[in-house]
């Protein structure tokens, strides 16, 4: 084939390899497409919809759409940023995101994306649905009220750790994360420090106990640089180092 394998993103020519998604091609070219449920090395999920881009006039999710030669992708447009701002607001009103009181503040991708898309208020009515927390595990604490249902922990635990600690249950607005044990408690699983699933949560839902002040507020990842510059990989990497993962 004589045609070079490239697409354009906001007019910029971006090469890609056969089989890559638009997200992968963009990341390789250092182009930031907002995302919350996507992580390198895990099968894409396509649930948060933050990565919505316009491909040849049609909207689709960049994380699970294959790059194909000649695609014209719109990413950083006002229209898409507005849409993403609304999606971010949706996640804020659905859960209980108490940023100033959350251990994750400054390291949280949801918060960082909210800054990036210019979200100043959550605007819509909060749902105030109460989900019980799980503090049963000696090293981890789960606040389901901050879970955005991205299924990153589900995939990491199933596909990388091979432990299958998490799953989703319920339907629609009642969809919620469950722990895979008859008691439903994290302590009754083999979840452990060093699991990929233990440091993949983009928000403050799965939290390591006793690490609240390892990095002071104000010096955390997204306190220093915006997410479109640092992305998420570093955060995961930093988390891995701090939390004892040797991989």
């Amino acid at each position: 084939m004589s045609q070079p394998s490239t697409i354009t993103i906001d007019g910029q020519t971006v090469p890609f390899q056969e089989g890559q998604t638009i997200m992968e091609a963009a990341l390789a070219a250092n182009i930031y497409i907002p995302h919350l449920c996507y992580q390198r090395d895990l099968t894409p999920d396509g649930s948060c919809r933050l990565c919505t881009v316009t491909v040849n006039g049609r909207n689709t999710s960049a994380c699970n759409t294959k790059a194909m030669a000649g695609q014209q992708v719109l990413n950083n447009t006002q229209e898409l940023q507005d849409i993403r701002q609304t999606l971010t607001r949706m996640l804020f009103v659905e859960g209980d995101h108490i940023c100033p009181g959350c251990t994750k503040t400054g390291n949280c991708q949801l918060q960082a994306v909210a800054y990036y898309v210019g979200m100043l208020s959550s605007h819509y009515h909060h749902f105030y649905s109460y989900r019980k927390i799980d503090a049963s595990h000696p090293d981890y604490f789960i606040d389901f009220n901050r879970c955005i249902l991205c299924e990153l922990c589900v995939r990491a635990s199933r596909d990388v750790d091979h432990k299958n600690v998490f799953g989703l249950s319920g339907r629609g607005r009642k969809t919620h994360l469950v722990i895979n044990s008859p008691s439903g408690e994290l302590a009754d699983t083999d979840f452990a420090v060093g699991d990929k699933a233990a440091f993949i949560c983009p928000v403050g839902a799965i939290l390591r106990k006793r690490t609240r002040y390892t990095t002071p507020i104000g010096e955390r990842l997204y306190d220093l640089q915006p997410i479109n510059v640092v992305g998420d990989a570093q955060q995961i990497h930093a988390g891995a180092k701090r939390h004892g993962n040797q991989n």
């Binding site: 849409i83 999606l87 949706m90 009515h125 299958n164 249950s169 969809t175 895979n180």
Partner: protein, 599 residues
């Protein structure tokens, strides 16, 4: 649940698992057995199923808690579900239901202290032409009146077994008002298969193709092409699936076909099987139609004994095919083919998979699969009998043949109308005796709201696409009641996978409720329009993309419905610019054709 139930639970679960040869893809069917026996799916049953099926606890739990007919806590000995479509509300459902609850002394969704009865709402059960209607332990009672409700209360208080209730209570009418090619001619079992035997499978496929038949489930994909793509796709097995989920509120044509014409439907499936090389077919029957199960099984058995199903159909050594019926469990999303297949595989019925690949190449168990609507299969059989040319003569350029329309709401003669494609809204209204019509909701809540100015539009793929639901509202109706009912429906039915639909449906419901209560502001209208836009632009599947069509349409065509309820007195943005806030809605309306294609 009693303790004796708990101690015998593991052995009961073992029997259930064995009844399905321990195959995890039958999990939904196993859960039905548990629900029927225990009136709920307790955590202990989940645990036992997980162990015996070698599935994770979370997986079984996730499936059990997805479907609304599976309950976490015990239901009453009589479990009553009232159909909650707007049509039934207009038929007096709320008052009847309140009476029943008061007389029996029960609260919504909670079993009475003595465990006798539970009363709850459920999405449209496909009886809008004979509502109000309810399901008691899965069996429908239609045409409810005060007298009937009182009688039901008495029967329950006297603990009369369901089998001894008056049989006429359980009669479901067909209400066929107008017949044509599909409903008109008598059908002899095996007739179409015999035509195929003479013609050969290749020529039969060519006929289906030539007829111009398109799918009746909504997307209107060409049936001949779908079968051909599936036939040509490599795979260990090929499968035929009949989509009998009929979840779009106000639709009941598939129920009538399965009730009165099951042979024609099965015959269509069998034709398809021969053409694509399938040995196995499924009917995915919505849980609301569980009452049809035994009659359908009887028809299947009859066809086996006639040599029309099973091994060597019509003596052909290369033609073996059988059909199984799988029961859904209360989830509208499972009508969407990607979710349907998940559900058929025993999983949560979410629409997380986004094609491609399409089911024709990777469907059930990742094998090439044809999914067609009930009516599509029935029409395929008719094409063979009537001839492709004759079929293609009916209808319009892009929409051949006839369409079954489920008419309900404000008219004299609700029921099933078979019209050639291209019939106008006005012609249907005239035929069913509708007067003073304000609006027609065409193709269900996910379809389009048609105002009087558009009554000359035609029902066909070129103009107003229809799944068959045709709900009529006369001028006495408040369209905001309609909107509120639809908004609630989508909150209940979103599968919850993606952000815009999972959260957006609830935001919409909250806003509509606020406006309905008279507390709305102009800003709320703007928000309605914007959320609608974002849902359409970003949702993962057709449900989220169409869940706000009714909002868009009513904002545009019935703005006064909203305006008259706004709280002007608060002085919030007093110079409201309706035009401006509707810009987005208009833009969306232009996008809608594109979206219909995507769904």
């Amino acid at each position: 649940m009693s303790t004796s139930n708990l101690t015998t639970l593991p052995s009961f679960i073992q029997d259930v698992v064995q009844a399905y040869q321990g195959r995890p893809s039958y999990l939904l069917q196993m859960l039905w057995r548990v629900q029927e026996r225990l009136t709920c799916i307790p955590a202990a049953a989940i645990d036992s199923l997980a162990k015996q099926l070698n599935l994770s606890h979370a997986q079984v739990e996730g499936v059990a808690r997805f479907y609304s007919f599976f309950h976490e806590t015990p239901r009453g000995q009589y479990d009553i579900l009232w159909s909650d479509n707007i049509i039934e509300h207009h038929q007096g459902k709320s008052e009847l239901m309140t009476t029943m609850m008061q007389k029996l002394g029960v609260q919504l969704g909670k079993p009475r202290a003595d465990g006798r009865v539970t009363i709850d709402n459920t999405a449209c059960i496909g009886m809008s032409d004979q509502g109000s209607a309810l399901l008691v332990n899965g069996f429908p009672i239609t045409r409810l009146s005060k007298t009937k409700v009182n009688k039901i209360v008495e029967l329950i208080e006297a603990q009369v077994p369901l089998a001894d209730w008056p049989t006429d209570f359980f009669q479901v009418r067909n209400n066929i008002q107008r017949k044509h090619l599909l409903l008109g001619e008598d059908f002899e079992s095996g007739a179409a298969l015999k035509v195929m035997q003479v013609k050969g499978a290749e020529a039969t496929l060519a006929d289906i193709d030539k007829s111009g038949l398109r799918g009746c489930g909504g997307a209107g994909f060409k049936t001949g092409l779908k079968w051909k793509l599936c036939r040509d796709a490599p795979g260990k097995e090929h499968y035929v699936i009949c989509n009998a989920d009929e979840g779009e509120p106000g639709t009941f044509k598939d129920r009538v076909l399965l009730q009165a014409y099951p042979d024609v439907v099965f015959e269509g499936m069998t034709l398809c099987a021969k053409i694509i090389g399938a040995r196995k077919g499924f009917v995915y029957l919505r849980g609301e139609y569980r009452y049809l199960l035994s009659a359908l099984e009887t028809t299947l058995q009859k066809r086996r004994s006639q040599g029309l199903l099973g091994d060597h159909i019509l003596g052909d050594p290369n033609f073996s095919f059988d059909i199984e019926i799988h029961l859904g469990a209360g989830a509208y999303i499972c009508g969407a083919e990607m979710a349907l297949i998940e559900s058929l595989e025993g999983k949560r019925g979410t629409a997380w998979k986004r094609p491609p690949p399409f089911p024709v190449t990777q469907g059930y168990l990742n094998q090439p699969t044809v999914v067609n609507n009930v009516e599509t299969f029935a029409l395929a059989a008719k094409v063979l009998l009537q001839g492709a040319e004759q079929f293609a003569q009916l209808g319009t350029a892009q929409s051949k043949g006839t369409k079954l329309i489920s008419v309900s709401g404000d008219c004299d003669r609700p029921g099933i109308y078979e019209f050639p494609f291209g019939v106008t809204v006005r012609e249907v209204l005239l035929a069913c005796g509708a007067n003073q019509t304000q609006a027609v909701q065409n193709a269900g809540p996910a379809g389009r709201c048609v105002s009087e100015a558009e009554f000359d539009r035609r029902l066909c793929f070129e103009d107003l696409n229809t799944t068959g639901s045709f709900m009529i509202f006369d001028r006495t109706r408040d369209m905001l009641d309609v909107v509120q009912n639809f908004a609630r429906f989508f909150v209940h039915e979103s599968c919850g996978f993606c952000t815009p639909c999972r959260v957006g449906t609830s935001i919409i419901e909250n806003l509509v409720e606020k406006i309905h209560h008279g507390n709305g502001t102009q800003g709320d209208l703007k928000d309605l329009s914007h959320i609608s836009y974002v849902m359409k632009a970003t949702s993962n599947c057709g449900l989220g993309m169409t869940a706000t069509n009714h909002i868009e349409d009513t904002l545009q065509k019935f703005p006064q419905t909203y305006e008259k309820r706004l709280k002007w007195s608060l002085g919030l943005s007093p110079s409201f610019d309706l035009e401006g806030s509707l810009e987005e809605a208009r833009k969306l309306a232009a996008m809608s054709n594109q979206v219909a294609e995507a769904a």
